[in-house]
């Protein structure tokens, strides 16, 4: 029933929660729906060049946002990589909302809704505090993203883990968060239920890991590279990011520990409880489960380290003689080091990623690879940050042969981004 309402329901659900909040008794001064401060935005002006294979954006197997020309030589691209307009209404002291509409040149439709949620967060009366959120949002997994437009803080390109979170781990859900402090230790627990993330696993299986900053939207489709002859008849040539196909809600939970020391640790578990076989227009319900472990630490005054480790499994299709159509384990990890230099920062990141196909040799989803990245962020003023970034990536994926592309690929990418926030 709910499915027929289309993508507008994301907005509808969030707004109905919002008006619920607005209906609560609130002093007039706390309400701020349409002042200048209730609006924010981000514009990303990008100049990029890359060599190597064709990017997945154009239907290739390339793992970066940009790729080389037909012969694999450097190709230059200038684009407005992102325009985000954000509405942050404050319904009362405890009830707020966020609606994020973005135009990304690679996405169709564009502009489209990217986030839409309401937050209930009363002012704490003691060390115990709680909050809740409902709508279309990313669960808290990424240690790299922040800000109202879910931008990457210190680099242009997020890690393989968080690029995938940006693509296939956004949910239409509701979550509750509780937090307490015991002798300087802070423990936080978040649990959520969600729908509309049944296709999660599709890109990871058919394209593999990737490193880019394109965010999934409410109604978008990501292109898939050339599928194996075995899968071509079963799976559509693209994947819808937000679909509920089997009418089973998924869930996730997150535990965080902040000791009285300059580090924090968290553990996250996700299960979309997909049945693996429900299908509409060749968009399948995948059964995807994963763990994510995160650690952040400060060394001295200026050096920040963060790291995530993710591993999981995704299953799709009916049982066959060789098992399910897709049954794949996936894992990735990164280490990011950022050093503050005045108001600027320099970052280095190493990513490792792997997938292991457990079934059907007719459709090979194996891959392994790594990437190294260096970035510099220069703060020009309150509204302007200039990023420069270099990425090198190497990967081996036998499935590239379905698109007549050699399995082993190396690639380099250079980017400059002027990020304007207002």
């Amino acid at each position: 029933m709910i499915r027929r309402l289309g993508p507008c329901r994301f907005l509808a659900v969030a707004l109905s929660f919002g008006f619920l909040g607005a209906g609560a008794p609130a002093a007039h001064a706390e309400m701020d729906l349409f002042s200048r401060r209730a609006f924010a935005g981000v514009v990303d002006l990008r100049l990029a060049t890359a060599d190597g294979e064709k990017t997945f954006v154009d239907g290739g197997f390339g793992k970066l946002r940009y790729g080389g020309d037909r012969s694999g030589d450097w190709r230059v691209k200038a684009q407005v990589a992102d325009v985000a307009l954000i509405w942050k209404p404050q319904f009362s002291g405890a009830f707020s909302g966020l609606v994020d509409v973005e135009a990304q040149p690679e996405q169709r439709p564009s502009p489209d809704l990217v986030q839409s949620f309401v937050v209930f967060k009363p002012v704490p009366k003691s060390d115990f505090r709680y909050s809740a959120r409902a709508g279309l949002y990313w669960p808290e997994i990424s240690l790299e993203h922040g800000g109202p437009a879910w931008t990457v803080a210190e680099t242009i390109t997020p890690s393989a883990i968080n690029a995938w979170v940006g693509e296939e781990v956004k949910v239409l859900g509701a979550e509750a968060h509780v937090q307490n402090r015991f002798g300087g230790h802070e423990i936080g627990l978040t649990a959520g239920v969600f729908t509309d993330d049944d296709t999660s696993g599709t890109l990871l299986s058919f394209r593999g890991w990737a490193l880019h900053d394109i965010k999934s939207t409410a109604a978008d489709r990501f292109p898939l590279p050339t599928l194996s002859p075995y899968m071509r008849t079963k799976q559509a040539p693209d994947t819808r990011s937000r679909r509920e196909l089997d009418n089973e809600a998924g869930w996730y939970a997150r535990l965080e520990w902040r000791p009285p020391a300059p580090f924090s640790l968290n553990a996250f578990y996700y299960d979309n409880r997909g049945d693996g076989v429900s299908v509409i227009n060749k968009q399948w319900s995948w059964d995807t489960k994963f763990w994510n472990f995160g650690a952040a630490a400060r060394v001295g005054d200026k050096l920040h380290l963060s790291s995530q480790l993710m591993f999981g499994r995704t299953i799709m299709g009916f049982p066959s003689a060789t098992g399910r159509w897709v049954d794949m384990k996936f894992a990735s990890a990164y280490l990011l080091a950022t050093r503050e230099i005045g108001e600027d920062s320099v970052s280095g990141r190493f990513d490792w990623f792997e997938t292991k196909d457990l079934t059907t040799p007719q459709d090979n989803a194996n891959e392994d690879g790594w990437s190294a990245l260096a970035a510099y962020r220069h703060r020009l003023n309150e509204h302007l940050n200039l990023f420069v970034e270099a990425t090198h990536i190497e990967s081996a994926r036998p499935g590239r042969l379905y698109g007549a592309v050699p399995a082993e690929q190396n690639q380099n990418q250079l980017q400059a981004s002027l990020r304007i926030s207002f």
Partner: protein
């Protein structure tokens, strides 16, 4: 002439002998066990002779670049502390400390709501919008209080001589209630020095975006 000199001498002697008439300066330096200077430690001296605080001047706890400034503020009982927002974003400052629970609901750049600190103690500050924003106000009921600088030093001027209680507080001190105390005996004039070694727990790691 001689009589006048005698009277003047007597007055001078009386002034010199009366408690508090001549003042001492006390410099306290605070370090960690490893010898690193400890900034933002609040030094409080309670002379037996007393000395209630006199709130004067302005007490500003600004919010800038999504941080409170200063991180630690010393304010006398009765001080009116203002909270100017210098950011373009709204802040929602609160404290649930028993010393002064309050809430300054969502206010914008240019606004500077204020709160009267009517009781001595610790007021831990937070912002309901930005969880990483943390600061402390130490409300003191003595006229003789100061906060250590980056060198870990603070000097309190014009202290009356005699026995006094010297207390040192730091938000991250591992001591009970964050406070270390000792009795001192101050000479009537001149300069005195005291040293403290504090064991601090590390500041928590905050999201840096």
């Amino acid at each position: 002439m001689k009589a006048q000199l005698a009277i003047l001498s007597a007055i001078a002697l009386l002034v010199a002998l009366s408690p508090g008439a001549r003042a001492a300066d006390l410099t306290v330096s605070v370090r960690t066990a490893a010898g690193k200077p400890v900034a933002d430690a609040v030094i409080m001296v309670y002379p037996q002779a007393g000395g209630a605080p006199r709130p004067s001047g302005t007490y500003r706890m600004t919010q800038h670049h999504m941080m409170f400034d200063p991180f630690v503020m010393v304010a006398p009982v009765g001080a009116e502390v203002s909270f100017p927002n210098l950011d373009t974003v709204r802040h929602h400052v609160y404290s649930f400390s028993p010393t002064k629970p309050f809430e300054l609901k969502l206010y914008a750049k240019g606004e500077a709501p204020s709160v009267k600190m009517d009781k001595a103690g610790i007021v831990a500050l937070g912002c309901n919008i930005h969880d990483a924003m943390v600061a402390f106000i130490r409300v003191v009921d003595t006229a003789y209080a100061a906060k250590t600088d980056a060198q870990g030093k603070a000097t309190i001027h014009d202290l009356p001589g005699g026995v006094a209680s010297l207390r040192v507080w730091h938000p991250y001190s591992k001591a009970k209630a964050g406070e270390t105390a000792r009795a001192i005996n101050l000479a009537r004039d001149g300069a005195a020095a005291e040293g403290f070694t504090l064991e601090l727990r590390a500041a928590p790691e905050m999201k840096h975006y």
